[in-house]
């Protein structure tokens, strides 16, 4: 039987598809990174922004471009790609396409940390980092550690059922703690908590981005080793083991890297919802389900997606802003429901 041209069973298959996806989605992400800073609630002149003859403090256009927009777009790129990639890994790890980076309690842990910092924390910054991101990072790490300890036993593969159960339970428990802390907080603090939960990419400078980069790079580095193993893992743990996958190691790496990536993203910009599920599913609709293609494509598309959502957030009601988490939820919620309906 002859193989039709362009068929998946053709030899060019993976390599060619990977290359074209990297180029296509890479171009999209790059375009978003380059074009989004040009748009906003105000019109700026690029020529003036890059005019070296004007001292920086006098150059409002340069200020808007370099201080207000670029850190924001960069944060959108990092958070979007990290959450989307973490979503892909989490879905494969749990063998459940409806899983999100937040399913295992990382974001609720981060939220608890942030709420504690907002309510009881010192209002003075520690070093160059503010206390809220640090506390949310710590909360995310604690939550992941608890889930890990609950769900794993030395030397054995992780039971995804137990993992899921531990994550869901911890989510509920931490949510209750958050409500309790909020009850003890005054209204301003409670409101700031609510606002934090909606997510915000306006990080104000490059410093928090730089601070989150090591975590992001480590987790993306681990992600690079995972895709083929994730393919096999999502077919079944035992079957993956007999195909030569070290299931326990793969699961632990996936859990660790996805949690770390989520923790970094959430501590940088708050728990921005739906990116981690909408993007992987959109990407799968376009490029199929092979993780070697889905993972990099989701990372790139996630960057473009969140930059786009933030562009809507900062322009649609200008000069007032819509929280970016509201935009992703407005786009993502209906999409998620559609996915559910389509699956049943």
């Amino acid at each position: 039987m002859s193989v039709p041209p362009g068929s998946l069973s053709g030899e060019r298959g993976i390599g060619g598809r990977l290359a074209s996806v990297l180029i296509g989605y890479g171009a999209l992400a790059l375009a978003a990174c380059l074009l989004a800073p040009l748009a906003g609630s105000t019109h700026i002149s690029l020529a003036r922004a890059f005019d070296r003859s004007i001292p920086f403090p006098d150059n409002v256009d340069a200020q808007i471009l370099f201080v207000a927009r670029m850190p924001r777009v960069l944060t959108g790129a990092i958070v979007g790609s990290t959450l989307a990639a973490a979503g892909v890994v989490m879905q494969a790890l749990l063998g459940n396409p409806l899983a999100t980076p937040f399913t295992l309690g990382v974001s609720t842990g981060a939220a608890l940390g942030a709420v504690l910092a907002i309510t009881f924390g010192t209002s003075f910054p520690i070093g160059t980092l503010a206390s809220v991101p640090l506390a949310s990072l710590a909360g995310a790490v604690v939550a992941s550690a608890i889930v890990y300890v609950l769900a794993t036993r030395p030397g054995r593969p992780i039971s995804t059922m137990v993992l899921l159960l531990a994550g869901v339970t911890l989510n509920a428990f931490f949510s209750a703690l958050i409500l309790f802390v909020q009850y003890a907080a005054d209204f301003t603090q409670a409101y700031r908590t609510i606002r934090w939960l909606m997510g915000d990419l306006d990080v104000g400078s490059f410093a928090p981005i730089v601070a989150s980069l090591p975590l992001v790079l480590v987790s993306l580095g681990i992600f690079a080793f995972l895709p083929r193993s994730l393919n096999l893992l999502s077919v079944g743990a035992d079957s993956a083991a007999t195909r030569g996958v070290d299931v326990g190691l793969t699961q632990r790496l996936a859990f660790f890297s996805a949690s770390l990536a989520t923790a970094a993203a959430v501590s940088l910009a708050g728990p921005i919802g739906f990116v981690g599920i909408v993007v992987p599913h959109l990407v799968r609709l376009m490029v199929g389900v092979d993780h070697r293609i889905v993972l990099p494509a989701s990372a790139l598309f996630g960057a473009a997606f969140l930059i786009g959502c933030d562009l809507i957030a900062r322009t649609v009601l200008a000069p007032v802003e819509v929280p970016v988490g509201v935009v992703t939820a407005m786009l993502g919620g209906p999409f998620f429901l559609w996915l559910l309906v389509r699956r049943s």
Binding site: V60, A130, Y183, D200, P319
Partner: protein, 310 residues
């Protein structure tokens, strides 16, 4: 500490914003206290209430100002001004009023938030007079003073307090008359050490009106909301000449103060930053919608027009 009370009031501002409520009743803020209310909205009790419970800290403050302090038998968990409130029983607050405890204090007047309609119904059914306080601009503050003064049997003191407040505000208006009005951003919230989570006063509410009286042009005055969360871009574009940051707490040590001021240096092109006109003000009175607004207006004016106070 007066901090908590002021913080509470600040939250009420924010909560009202959350509910999308515009209670100031006027889109065009008045240029002073001239338009303040003149007719009472409540009929005075035959004899003033003798056992009052207040769930609203700034109304508690009003009651003390009109001389009804000794009639208070219970206050909210956030009350701490004036210091006499510290000796009074605490009966919860907006979200967690302790109905039983309030009833056990056998009050004949309970002051609640306008949004606590269920609570209002409960006390009304129990035959207890209820005054629902509604938050708004300076007019509402003066009106509330007049109302609670009547309800507590001190109508004359109420009128006196209002007269004094008006003359304080008028004095500020007079002081800054003719001065150039700097474009001002009134910051009411910001995450420590960064330019994240910045909240500023919009074009509605007593803070906006106080800024107006103190001779400043609110750079966010066109946004008809009590609180606005501007992006860095918007702050750069609005280019305020003065940034006034209000903190309900005590003034921190000098090094922290310096660090917090330095957080604004990121927006290098903003005139207030370039000319060093970033001011951090500390004190509970700054954010309290009560009898101390005259003091707040003067504090604002001293920052905006230092020459007028030489």
């Amino acid at each position: 500490m007066a901090a908590r009370q002021a913080k509470l009031i600040r939250c009420v501002v924010v909560l009202l914003l959350l509910c999308g409520v515009n209670l100031s009743g006027s889109l065009e803020p008045p240029r002073g206290p001239q338009r303040s209310a003149s007719r009472p909205t409540v009929a005075p009790l035959p004899t003033g209430a003798t056992r009052i419970v207040s769930l609203v800290p700034n109304v508690t403050e009003m009651l003390f100002a009109v001389g009804a302090g000794p009639q208070l038998v219970g206050v909210s968990s956030y009350d701490d001004f004036p210091p006499e409130t510290k000796a009074l029983p605490r009966v919860g607050a907006l979200l967690d009023p302790d109905t039983e405890r309030i009833l056990s204090l056998r009050p004949d007047l309970v002051i609640v938030y306008g949004s606590q309609s269920e609570l209002e119904g409960q006390f009304t059914r129990a035959g207890i007079r209820v005054y629902p306080y509604r938050h708004g601009g300076i007019d509402s503050i003066l009106q509330a003073i007049r109302d609670v003064a009547r309800l507590s049997g001190h109508p004359a003191d109420g009128d006196r307090v209002i007269r004094e407040l008006r003359s304080q505000l008028d004095a500020v208006v007079t002081r800054v008359r003719g001065q150039r009005r700097p474009r001002t951003m009134l910051v009411i919230g910001r995450d420590a050490g960064t330019l994240r989570g910045v909240y500023v006063s919009g074009g509605i509410g007593f803070l906006h009106e106080l800024l107006d009286i103190a001779g400043g042009d609110d750079v966010f005055g066109d946004i008809k909301r009590e609180a606005v969360q501007p992006s860095n871009e918007t702050m750069i574009v609005r280019a305020p000449e003065v940034i006034m940051e209000l903190h309900p707490g005590e003034q921190p040590p000098a090094d922290v103060l310096r660090k917090e001021r330095a957080a604004w240096n990121l927006l290098a092109s903003v005139p207030a930053v370039r000319t060093g006109r970033v001011h951090l003000l500390y004190g509970g009175y700054l954010l309290a919608a009560g009898p101390r607004i005259g003091r707040a207006a003067e504090a604002f004016a001293r920052v905006l027009h230092p020459d007028s106070f030489k």
